[in-house]
């Protein structure tokens, strides 16, 4: 197996890794963690492994990775032989990608937090999380609009990168928190483009692309 993932099915951050593994076509060991209701990520065993008490945790080679951006870079560097998802030798592109990797943590702290409240009853300052979530969605919408005017469909450059993988989950899951996609046409088209990628995997709240299955016709 290529790596080991401490995983929670409803976590958008864990889903980044599951999704990228699907797209790259790589297998991994998944260990389910009872984040809710059991708070197992705060258990002694997992706190020993990851003192930050967060999920996911990736055991990759001799590394213990706890930040999803690091995981995505590691996976791309190791398994993407074409170097398109993380074009390491292209200074401008990698810099732009890292900007969006940073922004993806804003999505977690806004939409992700609002979703924990709205879906799993967690104690969160919901008004602020929702207001900041709208700001974040508008920023992605503006970027994708500009990319569309340039003729592109992705956050950076002409092909999908780990920036798209990192930002996709919490943008796609925004309706879980009550933030619908109705006002964001560029986001809707981008979500569809990612969902249509070969190897795409779903998570609860993000449905199968039934358009691409034809058995029912």
């Amino acid at each position: 197996m290529s790596f080991k993932l401490y995983n929670y099915v409803l976590s958008g951050n864990c889903y980044k890794v599951r999704l990228f593994a699907g797209v790259l076509g790589i297998n991994y060991d998944s260990i389910a963690v009872d984040f809710h209701p059991g708070q197992e990520h705060k258990s002694d065993d997992l706190m020993q492994l990851n003192p930050a008490g967060t999920l996911p945790i990736m055991i990759a080679d001799d590394l213990v990775l706890t930040e999803t951006s690091a995981m995505l870079i590691w996976m791309a560097s190791k398994f993407d032989s074409d170097n398109t998802w993380w074009p390491a030798t292209d200074a401008a592109k990698t810099a732009a990608i890292v900007q969006w990797l940073g922004f993806s943590s804003d999505l977690t702290s806004t939409i992700g937090e609002a979703r924990l409240h709205t879906m799993l009853n967690r104690d969160v300052k919901i008004e602020k999380a929702l207001a900041d979530g709208i700001v974040a969605l508008r920023r992605i919408e503006a970027q994708l609009t500009e990319q569309g005017l340039r003729g592109g469909a992705w956050l950076v450059g002409e092909s999908p990168t780990i920036a798209d993988i990192a930002c996709f989950p919490y943008v796609a899951l925004a309706p879980d928190a009550g933030l619908e996609h109705d006002d964001y046409p560029a986001i809707r088209n981008w979500l569809y483009a990612i969902r249509s990628l070969s190897g795409f995997v779903t998570m609860p709240g993000i449905h199968e692309v039934h358009e691409l299955r034809n058995e029912g016709d």
Binding site: A142, E180, D182, N189, Y192, H210, N214, G216, D217
Partner: protein, 228 residues
Amino acid sequence: MVTEPVGLSNNLPIKRVMPARVGDTDIAVWRSASGVVSAWLNRCPHRGMRLSHGFVRGESLACLYHGWQYGCDNKCKYIPAHPALEPPTTIQTMAYTVVEKHGVLWVSLDGTPEIPALFEKLQPVRSISFNCSNEDVLSALAETTLTCDDGQVLSASDMQSQNILILDNPQNKPKLAVLFQKSSAANVTAHLLADNSWSIDGLIRISRWCELVRRRAEIKIPDNRRNL
């Protein structure tokens, strides 16, 4: 009933469905594999699921919940739970008139579309939604200017109607057209079209100007009135 612009054509590719609103009415707009556009009440007649969450299979839109399929004639074509059944033509969605013109999707709830005949050779730029009133957007527009590629400065003038704003040369060749889709007192969407004088950088400038207008428009309303 006025005909509302609900979106830009290029934001609804073939085999896709999108949500839209005309006044209080929740609508699903979709485009079949062959390009036919339909606009329906956003509710599956079977069990009330929003059809905008559905998926297009060829010339039918399927509901995500139980997969019931409806064709471009609004009639039910297939019920997966009863695959042998040929559904009666009496099972159908609630359909509205939708017209595609000037690169814009227009929906009329009462069947008589009235589309302004002003625009020719305009290209879609973007749609943008505001959490404030139409008046707030108009007054923010009046405070801002936009510079064209040739250096000409556009400012809000020449209101054509409540729902359309033309910037520069209102008679026949606008450089920029702003179509307003009014959803509620606290929510309005603008669809922008530009003529072919704009470069890609110019179109991006228009997009950023929209953001500027929105910041100005939304700052006019106190936080406690803001519709989040």
